[in-house]
C-alpha cells in the first residue's frame, strides 16, 4: 500500500484497524542469490538498493535480533558531510544527497530535518582549521558557512558565548544542509521498501558460520538452518570482526563502546545541532523535546553495549560548560552501542579476500549519517563484484597499501579516532 494523505484519511475513517503490516515475516528459503547479514540501516539499505538498482530480488536480510535494534536505534540521528579529505567529502556528500530525497524514494517519512550542524571553534588555531575545512568542503561542492561569535550568540541564546565562558567561542563552521533524521524510520522505511520489491527480511535468525569451498562463499549456517548463496554481504556494525572471523580473517578493527543520552523532554530550546571538537560533545533536540547528547568513546575494547559513568560525567560537564541553563534538566536515559573502530577512523566498504564475501563495516562513530550511501555502494560492490569509484578508496587493501583515510591524523590507534 502506498502511504499518502488518502491512505491516512481512509484508515482514519476505519479507526486505523486495517493498516497492513509494513513487511512480511517469511521463512528462509533454501537458497538465495545473495544474503545480507545484519538488519540495521546499512543491511536493509544494501538489500533495498540490490533490488532497486540491480534487479536482485531473490535475496534475504538475516537479523539475529530485531530490525534496527543495534546501532541504528542507538545513534544520535545526526547527518552531515562536513569532511576535509576528498574521499570522505565525496562519499558523505553522496549520502547527504540520498538523505534529501529518501522520504520520497522510500514512500516513508524519515523526517530529514535540515536544521544545520554547527561546529564550534574555541581558539584561533581551531578557527584556522575550521576555515581550511570549510574551504575544502566548498571546493568539493558542499555547503559550508562561517558564523561569527555574534551571529551564534543571537541565534542560540542558551549557548554561553560570554568572554568568561570556560571554552570561549570564537565562531563556528556551519553546514546548513546537515541536521537530523529519525533513525528508527530509516530502518523501517528501508525494510518496507525492500520487502515490497520481494526481499525476504528474516528476524531472529543469527548467522553462526560462513561456509566456503575453494576460496568462495557457498552459504551461511544460521539458527534457522543452512542457507545456500554465492554472495554474502556483512553489515553487522560492532560484530564485524566476529563474522569475518568465521572465515579465519583478521581485520584492522577493534570494537569499542560509544555512549549517548537524553534529558527529559522540554519545549523547543535548540533548533540546530551544536558540536564542539574541543570538549568532545554534540547536542541536538529531538522532535519529542529531549536533548540528545553524545561525545567520546569509553576508550577500551568492549562488546557490552553499555558504558561507564566517567564518560557520562564528561558529557554532562561539557554540556553545562556550553549550555549552563541545561544543568536544570534531568537525564532520562543513557545507553551504549558497540562500534567497530578501524585503524584510520574511516569505514571499510568493499570485497574481502574470499570470493563472494563483501563488507560494509568499520563505521567508527559515523555510521548513521552514511547509511544510504553505505547501502548503495555495498549493493553495487555485491552486484558487480568490484567497488564503485566512490568506495574504491575505502576498501580493505588500503591498510596494507598505506593509503589511509585518517581524517583526524591520529595514527593506527583504533580508540583515538
Amino acid at each position: 500500500m502506498k502511504y499518502s494523505i488518502f491512505s491516512l484519511a481512509r484508515n482514519a475513517l476505519s479507526n486505523h484497524q486495517h493498516w497492513q503490516r509494513a513487511w512480511r515475516s517469511p521463512k528462509p528459503k533454501a537458497r538465495y542469490d545473495a544474503v545480507v547479514v545484519g538488519g540495521g540501516g546499512h543491511g536493509l539499505a544494501t538489500a533495498y538498493y540490490l533490488a532497486k538498482e540491480h534487479g536482485m530480488t531473490n535475496i534475504a536480510v538475516l537479523e539475529k535480533g530485531w530490525l534496527g535494534g543495534g546501532n541504528t536505534g542507538r545513534n544520535t540521528t545526526i547527518v552531515r558531510s562536513n569532511y576535509h579529505l576528498d574521499a570522505n567529502a565525496h562519499f558523505y556528500e553522496f549520502a547527504m544527497k540520498l538523505w534529501e530525497g529518501l522520504s520520497q524514494d522510500l514512500n516513508f517519512n524519515v523526517m530529514y530535518s535540515a536544521r544545520g550542524v554547527l561546529n564550534l571553534v574555541h581558539s584561533p588555531a581551531e578557527l584556522d582549521a575550521a576555515m581550511r575545512r570549510g574551504n575544502a568542503m566548498r571546493l568539493n561542492g558542499i555547503d559550508a558557512e562561517f558564523k561569527s561569535r555574534d551571529e551564534i550568540e543571537r541565534w542560540i541564546p542558551n549557548l554561553d558565548c560570554s568572554a568568561t565562558a570556560r571554552f570561549p567561542i570564537h565562531g563556528g563552521l556551519l553546514q546548513p544542509r546537515g541536521g537530523t533524521v529519525r533513525h528508527d524510520a530509516v530502518a523501517w522505511g528501508y525494510a518496507r521498501a525492500a520487502d515490497a520489491l520481494g526481499v525476504d527480511i528474516i528476524q531472529q535468525c543469527e548467522v553462526t558460520g560462513i561456509r566456503m569451498e575453494h576460496g568462495a562463499v557457498t552459504g551461511v549456517d544460521t539458527t534457522q538452518g543452512f542457507i545456500a548463496t554465492p554472495k554474502v554481504g556483512l553489515a553487522v556494525a560492532g560484530h564485524t570482526t566476529q563474522l569475518a572471523g568465521m572465515t579465519g580473517l583478521r581485520l584492522p578493527i577493534e570494537s569499542h563502546v560509544l555512549q549517548a543520552m537524553v534529558t527529559e523532554p522540554v519545549k523547543p530550546v535548540l533548533d540546530t545541532v551544536v558540536t564542539s571538537g574541543a570538549v568532545h560533545f554534540y547536542i541536538s533536540q529531538s522532535d519529542k523535546g529531549e536533548l540528545v547528547m553524545g561525545g567520546d568513546l569509553d576508550f577500551y575494547n568492549s562488546y557490552a553495549q553499555r558504558g561507564n559513568l566517567p564518560i557520562v560525567e564528561h558529557f554532562v560537564a561539557a554540556c553545562i560548560s556550553l549550555f549552563p541553563s541545561f544543568g536544570r534538566l534531568k537525564l532520562m536515559r543513557t545507553w551504549g552501542g558497540i562500534v567497530d573502530m578501524t585503524m584510520d577512523g574511516s569505514p571499510i566498504i568493499g570485497n574481502l579476500p574470499i570470493k563472494g564475501l563483501t563488507i560494509t563495516g568499520g563505521w567508527c562513530y559515523g555510521g548513521f549519517k552514511a547509511t544510504p550511501a553505505s547501502g548503495w555502494l555495498h549493493a553495487y560492490t555485491m552486484a558487480k563484484g568490484e567497488p564503485h569509484p566512490l568506495n574504491a578508496p575505502f576498501t580493505l587493501e588500503r591498510f596494507a597499501q598505506g593509503r589511509m583515510i585518517d581524517e583526524k591524523g591520529a595514527g593506527p590507534y583504533a580508540w583515538a579516532h
Binding site: 577493534e254 575494547n301 557490552a304 561507564n308 583504533a414
Partner: protein
Amino acid sequence: MMLISCPCCGPRNQVEFTYGGDATLARPANDAPQALWFDYVYLRDNPSGPHDELWLHSAGCRRWFKVRRDTATHAILGSAKLDEALPNTMGAV
C-alpha cells in the same frame, strides 16, 4: 564502573587509568618483512570475552601493566606487571 587492580597500588577507580590496547602484540624486528609489520600495526584479534590489554596508571604510579578483562562484561579477571604472567583466569572471579 571498573575497579582496576594496579600491581603497585592495588585496586583503584578506572578514572585513574589510561588504556593502551592489546597486550599480546609482539613487536617484530626492525628488518622484519612488511607483512609482519602490517600484522603488528593494524590487525587485531578483538575478542568478545577475556582480553589481555595494557593500562597505564596515569594518575597514580605512572607504570604500564597488563590487565585481563572480559570485553563482554567489563569484569576484571586479573592484572600483572609487564614482565610477569597474568593469572590463568579465563572466567569471572
